[in-house]
């Protein structure tokens, strides 16, 4: 599983980093999210990453 945050859609709601702090990090200045993990999400973080996708109010996160 790979996750991607669309920077055009993200508005800094911060729920992804609240749910999966090992997968997403928030910009210090505007709180917008980026993915920390380069490549495949480790198996033990997949469920949290998927929950972050479901919880994003802007639907800015996708899985491939």
């Amino acid at each position: 599983m790979k996750v991607h945050v669309d920077p055009e859609r993200c508005q800094g709601h911060t729920l992804c980093a609240m749910i999966a702090p090992d997968v997403f990090q928030l910009d210090e200045i505007d709180g917008h999210s980026t993915v920390i993990i380069d490549g495949e999400v480790p198996a033990d973080l997949e469920a949290k990453a998927a929950e972050a996708v479901r919880s994003c109010p802007e639907q800015a996160i996708s899985i491939s």
């Binding site: 508005q11 800094g12 911060t14 729920l15 928030l26 210090e28 200045i29 929950e51 802007e58």
Partner: protein, 453 residues
Amino acid sequence: MSTDADTDAERKKNQYHFDRHTPEYRENFQEITTEMLEKCPVAWSDTYGGHWVAAGHDEVFALARSSEYLSNDHDVNNVRKGYKGITIPTPESEFQGGFLEMDPPEQRHYRQVLNPYLSPAAVARWTPVVDELVRACLNECIETGRIDFVDDLANVVPAVLTLAMLGVPLKNWSLYCEAVHASVYTRHDSPEIAKVREDQMKMFQDMYGQMMEIKATPRPGMIDALVKAEINGKTPPDLELIGVLALVIGGGFDTTTALTAHSLEWLSENPVERERLSRERATLLDPATEEFLRFFTPAPGDGRTISADCEIAGTQFKEGERLWLSWAMSNRDPSVFPNPNEVDLARTGNRHHSFGLGIHRCIGSNVARMVFKRMLTDVLDRMPDFVCDPAGAVHYETIGVIQGMKHLPATFTPGPRIGDGLDETIARMQVICDEQRLAEPVTVRKTSAKITE
């Protein structure tokens, strides 16, 4: 041959008489919401000169994010298109409500100025100060076994913190606090409105005085950033900045108070859930906070003006038409939230709309969450058996602007004070703010406040 009137009737075939400013709307919120979600997730209402109402989750989502077809502009001087901003109906005294009543690029420039004060990293630096303030508020009541959660806690902490972040002396909080809350819940035909206007005037005078002082002798805070800001290549006029300050203060005060009061009232009525939340807070506090936000939606919606003819979510809109985006109703859509009218503290997939959506997402959302969680946690620790008094609880009569409470008295088993009362703590926090320059943006000061004696 179809006429314009036919087309108009076809466009507006889903009609619903929607008046969120009546007490009946508050009383029948759940029934009205269920009916609108089922029959007309986007409806035309004949109220307030006629306007659209979006209630469905998908519809609100699609509309709120279509900033190319929606305008927040409140063109008070009628120099652009005369749009009326985010309040329906338009208030008698027209005043531009800061960048929430602007479109890009000005709106974006203002947010860029304030983001470094309000980002998650910026807000986290204030947590030790908030903890001191919460503890002091509870100290004032802890030995008596009685508290009014609105007057003694939820009104106080957000107000003091907001002033600290702005760079206004903390001791001025009461001057601002009552003026803001009373202006939200006092009806315009009430005998009390004259006093409310007078208090508001005093608040605006103080605000203007602070701004002038900071212009002359800079000190850290959001006011400093605003008076130095270039917005779309220009220095904004003072009146525009007062509108921005009023937005930050209005947004920072009444909303978090409303969320806290409703959540504490619900936890008093559901003591088993309260114990569970306290016990499992490490995993439950975050989702429970989102669930309270969803269920109680302190700011129930926003108005917009359609800025170009368009078709969104199956409805054709015409330029100039007014639209109400109901965060509160979209938060109850069963297609996204199973059992939407129940509070589920562990709810997952909770993509609620309580902070709005798109480019106007509540800029203070990180402050709201942090302050709410600190207040709630300390109450659970120090007053774990609190019981709210339903006879003394006073809800706002209408929920058209804020779904708030005026009073929420409660009793609990008395406990010991831990440290100072409120006035001493506020004086101490002022020294800490000044010495550590806490109100600097996160770009200048990265570290958290340190509480010293």
